[in-house]
C-alpha cells in the first residue's frame, strides 16, 4: 500500500524575470520560490488502482517524482509498503516500479538488453531476468521487436519496453506517469490490460492520465490535483456522483467547487 500525507515541494526560481505572464499570476509563486506542490495527500490499498487526474501543470508529475525518490519533498511523508521513502530511499526503490512520463531507452541497445540492464541494476539474477522478460513479452506483446535496436521503435514499442523495464524487478507497488499518452488504440489496450494483470496480483497501481474513459474502465479510486493541492479523494463511484452528467462534468466540478473556496 502507498500512503502520501501533506506532501509539498517548492523549487527555487533561478531567474524570476524569465517567468511567463501566466506563471507570474499563479498563486503558487511566492517570493523566490515556486510551490509546485503545496498539499497533496492520498493513499492506495493493495490490489487497488488509483487514477491521478488534474490539468497540465497541476503538480501530478512532481508528486509522482517525489514518490519515485527522484526528487525530495520539502514537507510531508511518503510510505510504500511500510517503508518510509524519505528515510530509506534505496529500500523504497526496490519496492517501487516507476515509469516516468519523459522516459527514454538506450537506442543502441535492443529492448531485451535495455530491460535486462535495469534488471541487473536491481540485482535480479540472470535466470530470473530471462524468465521475467519472456513473461512480460507475452503480457505486453513484445516478441516481434524485442531483439531489435530501440532506435527504430515506434512510440508504442518504446512505451511497452519502458513499462517492462519498470517492473522487471517485480515491484510491490507500481507508479505510471501518463502511460498511455501518445499511444494508438491497440497499444493503449495492451497497457490497460497489463495494469489489470498487476491489479489481479494484488499490486497497488497509481497512474496519472488525461483520459477519463481509462479511469472509468480501471480505477477503484480517483484523486484530483489542481494547483498543487488535492481537490478530490474518493472512490470511483463518489467521483461519478459529483455530477449527474458525464465524468468530464464531475472532473470540472472538482476544479470549480474547490476554486470557489
Amino acid at each position: 500500500m502507498i500512503e502520501i500525507n501533506g506532501l509539498a515541494k517548492k523549487f527555487a526560481v533561478a531567474n524570476p524575470k524569465k517567468l511567463s505572464e501566466q506563471e507570474k499570476k499563479d498563486p503558487r509563486l511566492k517570493g523566490r520560490f515556486f510551490h509546485s506542490v503545496e498539499d497533496v495527500s492520498f493513499s492506495c490499498e493493495a490490489g487497488q488502482v488509483l487514477g491521478l487526474l488534474g490539468p497540465n501543470g497541476a503538480g501530478k508529475t512532481t508528486t509522482l517524482r517525489m514518490l519515485s525518490t527522484a526528487i525530495k519533498p520539502s514537507a510531508g511523508s511518503l510510505m510504500v509498503k511500510g517503508v518510509d521513502v524519505l528515510a530509506n530511499p534505496i529500500q523504497a526503490r526496490r519496492k517501487l516500479g516507476f515509469l516516468s512520463g519523459s522516459t527514454g531507452l538506450y537506442g543502441r541497445l535492443s529492448g531485451r538488453e535495455n530491460i535486462s540492464y535495469f534488471g541487473r541494476l536491481h540485482g535480479v539474477s540472470e535466470d530470473d531476468i530471462g524468465k521475467r522478460i519472456d513473461e512480460l513479452a507475452d503480457l505486453l506483446d513484445m516478441h516481434s521487436f524485442l531483439d531489435r535496436r530501440c532506435e527504430g521503435y515506434s512510440t508504442g514499442m518504446k512505451q511497452k519496453v519502458s513499462i517492462a523495464r519498470a517492473v522487471i524487478h517485480q515491484p510491490e507497488a507500481v507508479i505510471l506517469d501518463e502511460p498511455t499518452t501518445g499511444l494508438d488504440i491497440m497499444a493503449t489496450q495492451t497497457v490497460l490490460n497489463f495494469i489489470r494483470s498487476l491489479k489481479k496480483q494484488g499490486i497497488p497501481v497509481i497512474f496519472s492520465t488525461h483520459h477519463l474513459d481509462e479511469v472509468d474502465e480501471l480505477c477503484d479510486s480517483v484523486t484530483v490535483i489542481d494547483k498543487g493541492r488535492t481537490r478530490f479523494n474518493g472512490s470511483l463511484a463518489d467521483f461519478k456522483g459529483l455530477s449527474t452528467g458525464s465524468m468530464h462534468e464531475s472532473f470540472m466540478a472538482t476544479l470549480t467547487e474547490q476554486g470557489a473556496h
Partner: protein, 397 residues
Amino acid sequence: MWLVFRKELMELLRDRKTLFFMIAMPILLFPLIIGVVGFFTSKAMDEAQSKVLKYSIVGAQYAPQIADALRESDDFKLIETTADEELVAAIRAETLDFALRIPDNYAKPLLEGGQAKVELVLNDAGLNMIQQRLNKIIDEEIARKRKQAFSELGLADLQQDALLEPVVIDKQDVADKRENWGEKVGGLVPYILFILCLQGAMYPATDMGAGEKERGTLETLLISPIERHHLVLGKFFTIALAGVTSALITVASMAIWGLVLGQGMAITFVSEFMASIGAIDFVLMFLMLIPIAAIFASLLLSLSVYARSFKEAQSYMGAVVFVVIMPIILATLPGVDLDGGWAWVPITNVALAIKELIKGTMDYYALIAIFASTVAIAGAFIAFSIFWFNREKVLFR
C-alpha cells in the same frame, strides 16, 4: 560498477560514429595525410632536382671552366641573351631559371685578383635547387683556385690545412643520441598523445552524461537502487578506456604507417632511436597515459553531467581543448623541468615525464608527485560528478 561499465562499453561499441572517430579515422586518415603530403613533397623535390635549368652567363670569357662545365652538363641549358639588363625580366618571365655574372678579376690567379664575387641572379621564392646544383661546379672551381694559389706560395699540406681552418672546435657531446633527440621530439609526443586521448574521450563523455539526460534515461537510472558513486565510476572507467584506446590506436597506426611509408634511411634512425629507449621506459611512457586519461575522463564527465543538453556539453568540451593545451605548452618551454614544483602541476608533469622517459633521464621518484596530483585532481572531479548526481538539479535545471 562493472555492470554500468559493461553496458556503457557495449553501447559505445555499437555506435558507428564513435567507432569511426576512434578507430577508422586514425587508421585510415593519418596514413592518407602522411601519404599525400609525402607524395607531393617527393614529387616536387624530384622535379626541382631533375629539371633542366635554363641559364645565361655574363662574362663567360673570364671563367671558361664554369662556362664549359655548365655547357657539358645535361642538367643545364644555355639561353643566349644579348643584354645584361634583360636578365631580370627574363627570370621573372620564367624564360630563364638563373643567370651568372662573372667579374673580370675571376680570370686572374687568386693571389693577384683577390676574391671573385660571382653574382647569381634567380627567383628564390618557392622550392628550387639551383644553388645546390651550381655548388657542385663552383666547389670544384674553389678547390682548383686554392690549389693553384697554395702551390704558388709553396705551402706544405700541413700549412694548407692550418691556413684554411686555423682553429677547429671538436665538439664532444656527453648527451648521447637518445638524450639529444629526446629533447627535440620529447615535447611533441605528449602533445599528440594527450590531444588524441582527449579527442577519444570527448564523444563518449558527452553521450554518457548530457546524452543520457537528453534521451530521458537518466531519471530511470537514478531511481534504480544503485549507489551514485558506482554509477559515476562505471561511466568514468568507460570514458578513460575510450581515451586511452583511441590514443593508442592512433599512435600505433602512425608508427606502423610511418615505418611502411618512410622506408629507407629514416627507418634505421627510427628503429635505432626506439631500441635505445628500453622496454621499461617504453612501458612507463604508455602507463603515463593512465593519469592523463583519468584527469580527462573525470573532467569531461563532470562537465557532461553538469551540462543541460548535448549541445551545451559540446561547447564546454571545445573550451576544454584550449585549457588542456596550456599545460602541455608549458612543458615544452625551456627551463621547465620535472623537479620541484613542476612535478606537481597536473598534465604538465606527465608531459615532462614522457619527455624525460624518451631522453632516458627520468627521476623515478617524480612518479609519486605525478600520481598524487593526478589522484587529487581526478578525485575532485569524480567527487563533483557524484555530488551533482545526488542533486535534483541534475534532472531539472
